[in-house]
């Protein structure tokens, strides 16, 4: 499925379904934060150093 179609489909979901996705996004974000990966950028090619583990 193309990205625009996927986005359109996401917009058409019910509020219930959207909230469940938000909660999953939050769970994923918290898992990433707990794993120590936060601070490393992926979008810019992943070349930034992980800040958290310095020192």
């Amino acid at each position: 499925m193309s990205k625009p179609k996927l986005k359109a489909r996401m917009r058409s979901l019910s509020f219930d379904e959207k909230i469940k996705i938000l909660e999953k996004l939050r769970d994923r974000s918290r898992a990433i934060a707990a794993s120590g990966l936060r601070g490393k950028s992926v979008k810019d090619g992943g070349t930034k150093a992980i800040k958290k583990n310095r020192g």
Partner: protein, 190 residues
């Protein structure tokens, strides 16, 4: 008994509530018990009602507070929720893993947004969400990059009624701000 019911909701104990549903049930209970007046979901979660879901930090609840001697304070709300498992964290109260920010209306625009909010349901729980036009107007006035991005999403996905938006903007002195936004982000888009 209201307190026991609220405790179970906040801790998600013995129920298959999703966190946001449990949070809304707790908020509705506070409304029933008179700690808060009308409320409406705003911010990113409010926008999600009309747009695609996107990761967000918190749940913004714009809330009318009952005035006691002219002083408006969230202290009773926080005390009520903390007594039943909510954890105060900076400007949030964390309920079942969701940071919730209670926002008394700071302007006529926000008061109007609460009054005109759309009644809806989440997993059978009654709640109210700001209209897309009010969400866009508040975002325009707040004016951060992410707020402008939200307004753009509303515009690009035809999620707002342009006429209604212009009426709201005019009523709250935001027409010139809209023109600046339009010039910066929408110029050339017919």
């Amino acid at each position: 008994m209201p307190l026991g019911h609220l405790h179970g909701l906040v801790h998600n104990a013995g129920r298959e509530n999703t966190p946001v549903k449990a949070t809304l049930e707790a908020i509705n209970q506070m409304q029933t018990d008179g700690l808060i007046g009308k409320y409406a979901i705003g911010g990113a979660v409010g926008a999600t009602f009309y747009l695609e879901p996107a990761a967000t930090v918190d749940l913004d609840i714009f809330v009318m507070l009952p005035s006691a001697g002219g002083l408006l304070t969230l202290a009773p709300v926080y005390a009520y929720l903390k007594a039943h498992g909510g954890v105060e964290q900076d400007e949030y109260i964390v309920l079942d893993g969701w940071p919730v920010q209670f926002l008394p209306p700071g302007s006529d625009l926000e008061m109007e947004a609460i009054e005109k909010a759309v009644a809806t349901e989440l997993e059978g729980v009654s709640t109210r969400v700001m209209t897309p036009e009010h969400l866009a107007a508040i975002a325009l006035r707040t004016g951060r990059a992410k707020d402008h991005n939200r307004v753009l999403q509303f515009v690009e996905h035809d999620a707002i009624d342009g006429r209604k938006l212009q009426i709201i903007l005019a009523r709250h002195g935001l027409t010139s701000k809209w023109k600046q936004f339009e010039q910066k982000y929408l110029a050339g888009n017919s």
